[in-house]
C-alpha cells in the first residue's frame, strides 16, 4: 500500500456523480499531478483528502492509517499534516502577511509572541521585506507565497495545491512551481497538484492522473502518460498543447519521438523516401531533462505514400499513428 492511498472514492451530490471509484496511490516525495478539464471532479478530490468534504463511498489511508471514510473526516492531528493552498489564496484580508502566517501557529497553539517563526517562514519564501503588507498590497504571486509560508507553518507532510497557479501569469506561475519543487527536494514534501494547465503538471510532476467525467482514465509516471496518452481526453490535453485551430485534414500522421529530436527526420523523409511532406504541427515537451515531442505531417497523396513512410519509420524505430480527425477538435 502506498504512503497516501485512495481506495474507490466516490462522491455524489444528489443524482450528480462527481467522483466515480477513484483510486490513487501516492508515494512519499511524489509530486503527483491530477489533471482534467474543469468540472472533472479534481477539486472535490482534494477537498475529500483534507476533510473539507466526506466521500459518499471509499476510504483514504495515510501510512496505513485510515483517515477518511464516508463517516470520518481526518482528525485534527492529521489535518495539520495535510496543508492546502488555493486558487484564491485564502489569505485573511484584514491581516498583514506576517499575521497571516502567524494564524497557522495560532491554530496549532504554537504561537510565539515575537512571531519569529512566522518571520523565518516569510524569509524562506523570499518575502521578508513585505511582512507588514496587507494582501491588497501584494501581487498574486506574493499572495500565493504567503499562503505557502502559512501552509509550511503546519510542518506538513503533504501539500495539496488546488489550482494554486491558475490565477497567475505564466512567469509567476513558473516561480511558484519552482518554489514547490524546491520544497519537495529540500524537506521531502509530498505534493498533490491539481491543475487544468498541462504545462504546470509537465513542469513539476513525476506522476500524473488524468481525471475525466468523475473517473481516472489513466495514471502513472509522467513520461509514460505524456509520451503516449491512451485516453481521448489525455490525447486532447497533451497533444493539443497550444494548437488553437482544430485539424480537419484527413491524411495526417503523427510521429512520436523521445530524446532523438536532433536527427534530421523531415529531411530524411523527403530525400530518402521521396515524399514531399509538409509539417502541420510540431510540439515538444521537456520532461525531467529529456525532450519528448510530436510532429504532425501531411502527406501529399496518402494512399500512395503511407506504406513507404511506414516502412521507413519502422526501420528508424520511430513510433507513429494516424491522427483521428475528431481528436483535436
Amino acid at each position: 500500500m502506498g504512503y497516501l492511498e485512495l481506495k474507490n472514492i466516490s462522491k455524489r451530490f444528489g443524482d450528480q456523480i462527481v467522483l466515480d471509484e477513484v483510486s490513487l496511490s501516492v508515494e512519499k516525495g511524489d509530486i503527483y499531478g491530477v489533471i482534467g478539464l474543469s468540472g472533472a471532479g479534481k477539486s472535490t478530490l482534494v477537498r475529500i483528502i483534507n476533510g473539507l468534504e466526506t466521500p459518499t463511498e471509499g476510504e483514504i489511508f495515510l501510512n496505513n492509517e485510515k483517515i477518511v471514510s464516508p463517516k470520518m473526516k481526518p482528525p485534527r492531528r492529521i489535518r495539520e499534516k495535510i496543508a492546502m493552498i488555493f486558487q484564491g489564496f485564502g489569505l485573511l484580508e484584514q491581516r498583514n502577511a506576517l499575521e497571516n502566517v502567524h494564524l497557522a501557529f495560532e491554530i496549532t497553539g504554537e504561537d510565539d509572541k515575537d512571531q519569529a517563526k512566522s518571520k523565518a517562514l516569510l524569509k524562506k519564501v523570499t518575502l521578508a521585506d513585505k511582512e507588514k503588507n496587507y494582501p491588497s498590497e501584494l501581487s498574486g504571486g506574493e499572495k500565493q507565497r504567503v499562503a505557502i509560508a502559512r501552509a509550511l507553518a503546519l510542518r506538513p507532510e503533504i501539500l495539496l495545491s488546488d489550482e494554486a497557479t491558475s490565477a497567475l501569469d505564466r512567469k509567476t506561475s513558473d516561480e511558484i512551481i519552482s518554489l514547490l519543487e524546491s520544497l519537495n527536494k529540500e524537506i521531502g514534501l509530498t505534493i498533490i497538484l491539481i491543475s487544468h494547465q498541462i504545462e504546470v503538471v509537465e513542469k513539476a510532476c513525476n506522476k500524473v492522473a488524468i481525471l475525466d467525467k468523475a473517473k481516472i482514465v489513466e495514471n502513472g509516471p509522467i513520461s509514460d502518460i505524456f509520451l503516449s496518452p491512451k485516453s481521448e481526453i489525455g490525447k486532447s490535453l497533451i497533444y493539443a498543447g497550444d494548437l488553437k485551430t482544430p485539424l480537419s485534414d484527413k491524411h495526417l500522421i503523427r510521429l512520436l519521438f523521445d530524446g532523438d529530436a536532433d536527427s534530421p527526420l523531415v529531411s530524411n523523409i523527403v530525400t530518402k523516401c521521396g515524399i514531399l511532406v509538409s509539417i502541420v504541427y510540431a510540439n515538444t515537451h521537456t520532461l525531467q531533462g529529456k525532450v519528448y515531442g510530436q510532429l504532425i505531417l501531411k502527406l501529399p497523396s496518402y494512399d500512395k505514400d503511407i506504406q513507404k513512410l511506414e516502412k521507413y519509420l519502422s526501420i528508424e524505430h520511430i513510433r507513429y499513428e494516424e491522427v483521428s480527425s475528431n481528436e483535436l477538435e
Binding site: R76, I82, G90, E93, Q94, A104, Y134, S136, A147, R150
Partner: protein, 222 residues
C-alpha cells in the same frame, strides 16, 4: 419649551437608541453567527437549528413594533416596575424589535467573507469557535461596523413609538407640538430645532460608522 427640556429629550432619545442597539448586538451577533454557520452554504450546515432560529427571527421581524410594545408591556412592567411613562420602559420592546433585524444584518456581513478564507482555516483543522474568532468576525469587521450604524438609525426611528407610551424623547416632543398647536405647529422654531437635532444625530451615526468602517478596513491600497 426651554433648553433644559430639549436637552432631556435629546438624551432620552440617545439613551433609548444606544442602549437598545447595544443590547440588540449582544444577542444579534451570536444569533447572526449561528444563522450563518448553520445555513445551507455555511461552514456547519444544520437544517433544524437554522429553521428554528431563523423562524423565531422571522416571526419577531414581522410583528409591527407598536404591537410588540403592547405585547411586551407585562414583561416590561415586571422587570422595570412600570410599563410606560419613562424612557427606559422602551428598552425592552426596542430590543425585541431590533435584535432579529440585527441578526440578519450580522448574517449578511459574515456571508461576505470569501469561502477560500474559511476553507483555509478549516483545512488547518480549526474549530468552529476559532473559525468565528479568527476569520468570520475579524474579516467582516468593516461590514459589521457599517451595519451597526444602519441598525442604530433604524432603532432611532423606532423611538417614535415612545410618544404613545409617554416615554419621552425628541420625536415625542415634536409630536406634542403638533397635538397642542395642530394649526400652526410648524411656525414654532422649537419644532425645527428638534428636526435639526435628529438630523444631526442620524448624520453623525451614519458618517461615524462609515469613517470607522473605512479606517479599520485593510482591503484598500494605502
Amino acid at each position: 419649551m426651554n433648553w433644559s427640556n430639549l436637552w432631556t429629550a435629546t438624551y432620552e432619545t440617545l439613551l433609548m437608541t444606544i442602549i437598545s442597539s447595544l443590547l440588540a448586538y449582544v444577542i444579534g451577533i451570536p444569533l447572526g453567527v449561528l444563522l450563518f454557520m448553520t445555513s445551507k452554504n455555511g461552514p456547519k450546515p444544520n437544517k433544524w437549528v437554522n429553521i428554528i432560529v431563523g423562524g423565531i427571527v422571522n416571526i419577531l421581524r414581522s410583528v409591527p413594533c407598536m404591537l410588540l410594545i403592547i405585547i411586551l408591556l407585562p414583561l416590561t412592567r415586571s422587570l422595570l416596575g412600570r410599563g410606560t411613562g419613562a424612557w427606559y420602559t422602551m428598552l425592552i420592546p426596542l430590543f425585541f424589535a431590533s435584535f432579529p433585524f440585527v441578526s440578519r444584518m450580522v448574517e449578511q456581513s459574515l456571508s461576505e467573507v470569501k469561502k477560500d478564507e474559511i476553507e483555509a482555516l478549516e483545512s488547518m483543522g480549526a474549530s468552529n469557535l476559532e473559525l468565528v474568532k479568527k476569520v468570520l468576525v475579524p474579516e467582516s469587521k468593516p461590514s459589521l461596523i457599517s451595519g451597526f450604524s444602519v441598525s442604530t438609525i433604524s432603532i432611532l426611528a423606532y423611538t417614535s413609538f415612545a410618544y404613545d407610551f409617554g416615554a419621552g424623547g425628541l420625536i415625542s416632543r415634536a409630536y406634542s407640538f403638533y397635538s397642542a398647536h395642530s394649526g400652526n405647529y410648524l411656525s414654532f422654531p422649537n419644532v425645527w430645532i428638534i428636526i435639526l437635532i435628529v438630523l444631526i444625530i442620524v448624520q453623525l451615526i451614519q458618517e461615524l460608522g462609515l469613517y470607522i468602517a473605512h479606517k479599520v478596513d485593510k482591503r484598500k491600497v494605502n
